[in-house]
Chain length 240, copies 2
Amino acid sequence: MDGGCPFNLIMMTQRKSIGIVIFPEFQLLDVAGPLELFGASDGVQPLLIAARRDPVSPVLWQHHTITPEFDFTSAPHLDVLFVPGGPGIRHAIACSETRAFLRERSQKATYITSVCTGALVLGAAGLLVGYRAATHWLYMPLLEMCGAIPVDGRVVKDRNRITSGGVTAGIDFGLHLIAALTNQREAEKAQLRLQYAPAPPFQSGEPHKASDTVALELRNEASQRFREREQLLANILAER
Amino acid sequence: MDGGCPFNLIMMTQRKSIGIVIFPEFQLLDVAGPLELFGASDGVQPLLIAARRDPVSPVLWQHHTITPEFDFTSAPHLDVLFVPGGPGIRHAIACSETRAFLRERSQKATYITSVCTGALVLGAAGLLVGYRAATHWLYMPLLEMCGAIPVDGRVVKDRNRITSGGVTAGIDFGLHLIAALTNQREAEKAQLRLQYAPAPPFQSGEPHKASDTVALELRNEASQRFREREQLLANILAER
């Protein structure tokens, strides 16, 4: 090798960039699950991006802050767009800059992805029309408003859209994405690093498996938020 | 009700307090997994505690910071002690204040717990002698140095010690802990809120399930860190 790139530089340039779009009151685990998987893989490079470079906090945990590495203007080329969910999607859905950023960057991205209610942000940006998609079980009906075809799957891939179920689905999503961007062996290595051999003590993670009263209680709790999101999406989608 | 407690105050006082001991270079998902589950349950109150109240960052993610809510002196009564893992356990193991805090508070705690290599911090504090325990698969042999009985389990409960496997085991651990502190229904509700119905696309999360070359590669990568931790534990345990 004469005058070649230093090895690290080669590695860096070969890494696929994953732009994680954050906003106030995002759901911590929607980001932390995939992020930790991405950190356990040498083949991908996660980048934290927001409308402004001010520190943002996830919902519930004000003592956490994440300072975005890039704003929408300074963000480099992104191989993947990734949008997490959480109560803060109301900010992201209502923000015309966020929707414009997602639309613009989606033109050159290899994959356009979400975890949990991040799918509704993609939907508000018009990026799920005609695509099969998933979101948190409580908000599946809202996907149809966005022109998507709701699919009851943990990780749903349709052409270059990869959307997933609620919160913890982000870990399964992360494995799918690493395999799609690099190869299965790379994903398996990340899985073993994080010892991801889940063994939930109860089988209550989907509404049809949980007891009826638990599912009903959560539906009732979420009913106001459901209506608020429905109204917000209706307003935004009517603008188009 | 005359002169009674406001409802919120009653809720607060009934909530079981979980003291999460953090340190620089903790593993993000070791904390974020259980923390998000605790946040999805009304029955528990997680509190972030460190030797000092300065912001700390998890390993790999310097743009994240968590500002501890309490230092070792100001922390209130803790029903549960919880120690995460990560490269930063070398700071926690070497820190006599951390070990003293864990020993002192363990006297009155209902449960003494860990995820991933947090078990080695408990072990360094002398809290696992004679207990069955788990840790990240790469570091299981180090449990014996601490007088523990290594058990190949995802979540291992022995009397009031609850230790668990690597990183992602924290979510399974969190469910076990919520059920133990409150009741199974409360844990099931948190599980459904976070849609925890895991579906990993590959079965590489344990060394005996992963391909031999993947497991060997990670063992080789970790060999220096293994020796460093072994030496550090030997030094600390020799002081006793």
